[in-house]
């Protein structure tokens, strides 16, 4: 009995290892997507990309095919709907040169559109297609194939069982040839026919659904991996954008918090405030500056930026409320001169209209800029404007991901939040992110005896001793000045 138990124990890990042997994958080369599918699409098997018109499925398939072709793996693109010439032209607008790859025999575009005037009399099969593909794949040694808009072909059949049968024949052939396949199919609106191509989902080894939706007048594209036989995958919906050079899936927030611990103190640019904070802000932490309009949030952030730049550090300032020009000119009034800092390249100000694009596109730009500028500190002015990126949820995701990216890189993150109501403390929560903020500074304006009094308080400061009192301050032509109590 004892021996048996031991044997079982001994056997199990080996068996598990055998089972855990990862399936072979082919990277798509699409930023972010390979992360979601844990390395790539299944090699020698079929992946289904389904989505509505204009969702970007054909582009995604093409981009992945080109990535392989660029790496020396020949591929075939079968176009059931689009003209080959149009595909070449559209690709050129993204800087992809199909013609060169075609000349090198790394890519073959097959015009497989069916003549719309074609008359159908009786049953038929896809044998011709298979024969052609077989011939072409052998001739060029193709390893990968994309069947774009396969639904167009299936529409010729008026019976669902025939559709299914022919598709199984096609699938069988693809598997026998060991071709890594991407098939794209247009999904029909739910009302029309819920399951016309549902069987495709069962057939394919990997299924990715893509959709394009409009929330708050802003269009966002998202993808979701529905299944992936033999592999793990990210199970959420991932936003993606079609940028200047193709599809970029917005990198996923890792499920592990890989944040660095707070760094040493760094001056707030205001000596008295440093005192209140127990020596300044902590490097690499997140700070929320909340206050009513005109309380001096931008001024406080700019005096920090100025001090940082003067120490030779770099600051990225994302402004959702005013242009760099107007910011530079407005900051002259409290005596902060930004122009030389910008000129030296230490201060980078980028202004965006929140509603100009979806939150994922904003995120993509923000992360890109972080990677280009390599700042030590980031200012987002103001997170209250981020709601205009679509929805509060979108703004929250944007801010969370920016903050995560900053924390992973040890970048100090300043979030400015505009609170309008009288109860400033209730409003500072800042789109629900306050719990993960390290330091909260609130600025309020009170009308006392016919004059406006400004007061500053530190609500919270993780890892630092800090003042627990409200401190009166003035905005002077030499910046923020705390009034001695």
């Amino acid at each position: 009995m004892a021996t048996r138990t031991r044997r079982v124990k001994h056997k199990d890990p080996a068996g598990q290892q055998e089972r855990r042997k990862a399936i072979k994958k082919v990277p798509t080369g699409i930023v972010g997507l390979d992360e979601v599918v844990c390395g790539g699409l299944p090699a020698g098997r079929m992946t289904l990309l389904s989505g509505g018109a204009g969702s970007g499925k054909s582009l995604m398939a093409l981009q992945s095919l080109l990535h392989s072709a660029g790496a020396g793996e020949p591929g075939i693109l079968v176009l059931f709907e689009e003209r080959a010439a149009a595909v070449r032209q559209n690709a050129r607008s993204l800087g992809w040169d199909l013609a060169t790859l075609e000349r090198k025999n790394l890519l073959f575009l097959m015009d497989a559109r069916v003549n719309p005037e074609l008359v159908i009399s009786g049953d038929f099969s896809v044998k011709g297609l298979l024969a052609i593909l077989d011939h072409q794949a052998k001739a060029m040694g193709a390893r990968r194939i994309v069947l774009d808009a396969v639904d167009t072909l299936l529409h010729l059949y008026d019976s669902p069982s025939r559709e299914r049968h022919e598709l199984y024949a096609l699938h069988e052939w693809l598997l026998n040839r060991g071709l890594t396949t991407i098939m794209t199919v247009k999904t029909v609106q739910k009302e029309e026919s819920p399951s016309r191509y549902a069987f495709l989902d069962f057939m394919a080894d990997c299924v990715i659904h893509i959709d394009q939706r409009v929330t708050g007048q802003i269009t966002t594209r998202r993808l979701r991996v529905v299944k992936y036989r033999g592999s793990g995958y990210g199970r959420n919906e991932y936003p993606f954008i079609i940028g200047e050079n193709g599809i970029n899936v917005v990198p996923i927030t890792s499920n592990v918090l890989q944040h660095r611990s707070p760094g040493p103190h760094v001056s707030s640019g205001q000596a008295q405030l440093d005192g209140m904070l127990g020596g300044g802000y902590r490097r690499g932490t997140s700070i929320l500056l909340a206050g009513s309009p005109g309380a001096g949030k931008t001024t406080l952030a700019c005096s920090f930026a100025q001090a940082a730049c003067q120490r030779g550090e770099r600051v990225l300032y994302l402004n959702f409320e005013e242009s760099p020009e107007s910011m530079v000119s407005n900051m002259l009034s409290p005596g902060i001169v930004l122009a030389p800092l910008i000129k030296s390249g230490r201060l980078v100000i980028q202004s965006y209209l929140p509603e100009a694009m979806g939150a994922e596109e904003h995120l993509f730009h923000a992360l890109n800029t972080l990677n280009e500028v390599h700042p030590q500190h980031l200012v987002v002015d103001a997170i209250s404007a981020c709601k205009r990126m679509g929805s509060e949820q979108a703004a929250f995701e944007y801010l969370m991901r920016v903050m995560n990216a900053c924390k992973e890189r040890g970048i100090t993150c300043f979030y400015l939040n505009q609170a309008i109501g009288p109860d400033i403390v209730a409003e500072i929560s800042g789109i629900g992110i306050s719990s993960i903020i390290d330091t909260v500074v609130i600025l309020c304006q009170l009308s006392i005896g016919g004059s406006m009094k400004r007061q500053l308080a530190i609500m919270k400061s993780r890892g630092s001793k800090h003042s627990d009192r409200f401190h009166e301050y003035r905005i002077t032509d030499r910046g923020i000045d705390l009034v001695k109590a």
């Binding site: 497989a112 008359v119 159908i120 009399s121 009786g122 038929f124 024969a131």
Partner: protein, 109 residues
């Protein structure tokens, strides 16, 4: 053997009727292809006796020609004469439709 040609009758156009030429793309001896071959021959014998020509291309044996003509689906009947560009997909079992499409009855007969 790549192309199987079949010439019926004396091959020359019979007075009073135009000459017809077809190319039929088939996939070996698969059932729809076999049926199409039979149906086409029967129609031709009935309506075009002595003035038709059928060129049979087996896409399994000659995929390059199928690619050149973008024939993905089989069987596919393509008319070469007297009008170019008329094609019928399928086993040609719906003879009425084939007759109408090829205009075997009517003006051109």
């Amino acid at each position: 053997m790549i192309n199987a040609s079949k010439r019926a009758g004396n091959g020359a156009a019979v007075a009073g009727g135009k000459a017809y030429a077809f190319r039929l793309f088939v996939a070996g001896n698969e059932s729809n292809s076999t049926q199409a071959r039979g149906n086409l021959t029967q129609l031709c014998e009935e309506y075009l006796k002595g003035r038709y020509h059928i060129d049979i291309v087996d896409v399994l044996k000659d995929p390059a020609i199928a690619l050149k003509h973008s024939v993905l689906l089989t069987p596919m009947l393509v008319m070469l004469k007297p009008r170019l560009g008329v094609s019928v997909l399928g086993n040609l079992g719906d003879t009425k439709k084939v007759i109408a499409t090829l205009r075997l009855i009517g003006g051109e007969r």
